[in-house]
């Protein structure tokens, strides 16, 4: 589904060269729920931006759903983002002037669906996150958790191959966070591939694969057993810290 091979990303200021990612390789299979953790400045965001085709990379090879990203122009990248990727941002990133309906509608517009098709998809997506009744609300009229669920609906509406979530619960209290996570887990069980950057070790442990990025390099913890429960999580956290 997603395959990165020796990807490097270098930020260059006047005098200093910073390796944000160094020979970064990762394979994500269809249906996986991957949690990416790591300290601030480790390269998590760079990874997500590159994975989401928001940012270019300097070296290496990146295939998304069988398409080699190398050499694609801006229009082609936009098209790929629109069709294959669903974004969920930490700060929701809804258009404040648009209603919930219009916000979810936005990526579908760029896809060029008919209005009937769009309406159907928007309603389906909002149904999934339990906000179908709020279609005509403005984002400011919703709670943070509801806003994030709208963002998820927006990401889902286009039936992307992969969902990229950037600390989706970072701005939410624990109750709301749990609701959002439940939706993501449910989507995963229905077959969605999800990559999620998170700070929360509980969330990281609750998914089936956990990778950590430190100084632009990757440590892959491989696949957790699905039956692993929260009670054993504490020791794993210690492991993470000692790596």
């Amino acid at each position: 589904m997603l395959s990165m091979n020796n990807i490097s990303r270098i930020y260059q200021s006047d005098t200093i060269k910073t390796h944000a990612l160094r020979d970064f390789s990762l394979d994500v299979k269809q249906g996986e729920f991957v949690a990416v953790t790591g300290p601030s400045g480790s390269g998590k965001s760079t990874f997500l931006n590159i994975a989401g085709l928001l940012d270019p990379f300097d070296q290496g090879e990146y295939q998304l759903d069988g398409v080699n990203i190398q050499g694609l122009n801006d229009n082609q990248l936009s098209r790929l983002r629109n069709e294959k990727i669903g974004f969920i941002f930490q700060s929701y990133n809804l258009i404040p002037d648009y209603t919930i309906f219009d916000n979810v509608d936005m990526p579908l517009r760029y896809r060029g669906f008919s209005s009937k098709e769009r309406k159907y998809r928007i309603e389906q997506a909002l149904e999934k996150v339990g906000l179908a009744a709020r279609a005509n609300y403005l984002p400011s009229q919703l709670s943070g958790g509801q806003q994030q669920r709208v963002a998820i609906a927006r990401a889902l509406a286009g039936e992307p191959k992969i969902l990229l979530a950037d600390e989706p619960t970072g701005n939410l209290d624990s109750l709301m966070a749990r609701q959002v996570m439940e939706i993501l887990h449910q989507l995963n069980q229905e077959g969605a591939t999800i990559i999620m950057v998170t700070h929360d070790p509980d969330q990281a442990r609750a998914v089936n694969r956990n990778i950590q990025i430190i100084d632009g390099e990757i440590s892959d913890f491989g696949v957790y057993a699905p039956q692993q429960n929260i009670a054993t999580a504490a020791s794993v956290e210690v492991d993470n810290a000692t790596v």
């Binding site: 965001s45 997500l48 931006n49 989401g52 085709l53 928001l54 940012d55 801006d74 229009n75 936009s78 098209r79 983002r81 629109n82 069709e83 990727i85 974004f87 941002f89 930490q90 700060s91 990133n93 258009i95 002037d97 648009y98 209603t99 219009d102 509608d105 936005m106 990526p107 517009r109 760029y110 896809r111 403005l138 927006r154 286009g158 950037d166």
Partner: protein, 402 residues
């Protein structure tokens, strides 16, 4: 482009949107009304005068020497002038005149049939009938066709005013005698021997309501302005005009030649005020368009700075650069469309306002469309640069936390 969402979001910013709409509407109103003014002025300049404007030259002169107080001297100067001008190649005919056509004041007198002096009370126009004193050939120089009777000749110079033969304009004949023939009738200003087509004597009256009469008597008021009119063959105007001043001065130097101009040029001078006002309005239009452009530009520019992140999100969700370009331009277009709709009322309101002060025609559809196009194009051009800059906002902005 999601037009409905765009409109809804504009409605959320009611104040700003309202300001922009009002601004667009007023700009449109001024553009249209300036257009009307320009067209009105153009119509005045190109109106039918009944005279061949292209091929007629006007000379204004004022005697500066006391010699001219002697009528015989003055007449001898005029006769020599006429004889000399007639010799210039290209000249068809020349005549002196005490006044110009196409003016507001001038030499006027009252007029009535000798048997019916009450006519004047019934028709106020008969109290201000333009009197043209010439040598008999002025109607020929103006190229006025005879409706009935005959033209005047130099032999018609009769001092006694009641018996002097006169030629009247068609509308004057009708005002005096209705459908009856005016030939042979006697007025307080002379007896009528001919009726000619109407021509534009009073600038503010329609062509078919021009009271004037001609007398074969040359005006020689010392100290007053006097005139010659010269009809030339087509294409000869400039070559004739170029030598007139020197010719006249070489014949008699003691006079101030105030003007040598084609009647076309004279109309431009006569309507100089209207042309000036039209130019001022044109200047204002340019300023208006400039301000509209500033507004469009700044709106796109600063509104977009604020929306950087939102644009980034759109890009992240798959909008191409072209989509963003259209999105920014689209907002301008939608505002313009609504401004232009509101503008219809503004156009009418400003037209009414201005009509209360100056004479102004009613707005026309195609002027409205023209002004619309101007606003659309200037707005789009002004938005293009910021729109292009906006489309270059990288999608990665979306994931940066504030």
């Amino acid at each position: 482009m999601n037009i409905k969402a765009l409109i809804k979001s504009l409605l959320l910013r009611k104040f700003t949107t309202g300001l922009l709409l009002l601004q667009l509407a007023l700009t449109l109103a001024l553009l249209v009304n300036s257009g009307i003014l320009t067209l009105d002025t153009h119509a005045k300049l190109t109106q039918q005068t009944g005279i061949d404007k292209e091929n007629t030259i006007l000379i204004d002169f004022v005697p500066t020497s006391p010699d001219y107080a002697d009528r015989d001297f003055y007449l001898s100067v005029i006769n020599r002038d006429i004889a000399t001008i007639k010799e210039i190649p290209g000249v068809i005919d020349v005549a002196p005149s005490n006044q110009r056509p196409m003016q507001f004041g001038g030499f006027n007198s009252n007029m009535h049939d000798v048997n019916n002096p009450e006519q004047e009370q019934l028709n106020n126009g008969l109290r201000y009938v333009a009197e043209f004193y010439s040598n008999g050939s002025l109607t020929n120089v103006f190229n006025l066709k005879l409706v009935e009777g005959r033209q005047l000749t130099e032999l018609d110079n009769v001092a006694n005013s009641n018996e002097a033969p006169i030629v009247v304009t068609h509308s004057l004949a009708k005002a005096l005698y209705g459908e009856e023939s005016a030939l042979g009738k006697v007025t307080n200003r002379g007896h009528i021997v001919g009726v000619v087509e109407d021509f534009k004597i009073r600038a503010n009256q329609p062509l078919d309501n021009q009271y004037g009469f001609f007398k074969s008597q040359i005006f020689t008021g010392a100290n007053w302005m006097n005139h010659y009119f010269i009809r030339v063959e087509p294409g000869m105007l400039e070559s004739v005009q170029a030598q007139l001043k020197d010719t006249l001065i070489s014949l008699q130097a003691d006079r101030d030649i105030r003007e040598v101009a084609s009647l076309n040029k004279y109309l431009e001078i006569f309507f100089g005020d209207d042309i000036g006002l039209a130019k001022l309005f044109a200047l204002l239009c340019a300023l208006m368009v400039l301000v509209t452009a500033i507004s469009s530009f700044a709106h796109a520019q600063f509104h977009i700075t604020k929306q950087r992140r939102l644009i980034g999100i759109r890009r992240a969700l798959g909008a191409r650069k072209r989509d963003i370009l259209i999105y920014v331009l689209g907002e301008n277009w939608i505002l313009t469309v609504f401004g232009l709709i509101v503008g219809v009322f503004a156009v009418v309101a400003v037209n009414m306002l201005l009509s209360s002060v100056i004479t102004l025609n009613k707005p026309s559809l195609w002027l409205y469309l023209l002004a619309t196009a101007v606003i659309f194009i200037s707005g789009t051009l002004a938005t293009l640069l910021p729109a292009w800059q906006t489309s270059r906002i990288p999608p990665v902005i979306a994931t940066r936390s504030i």
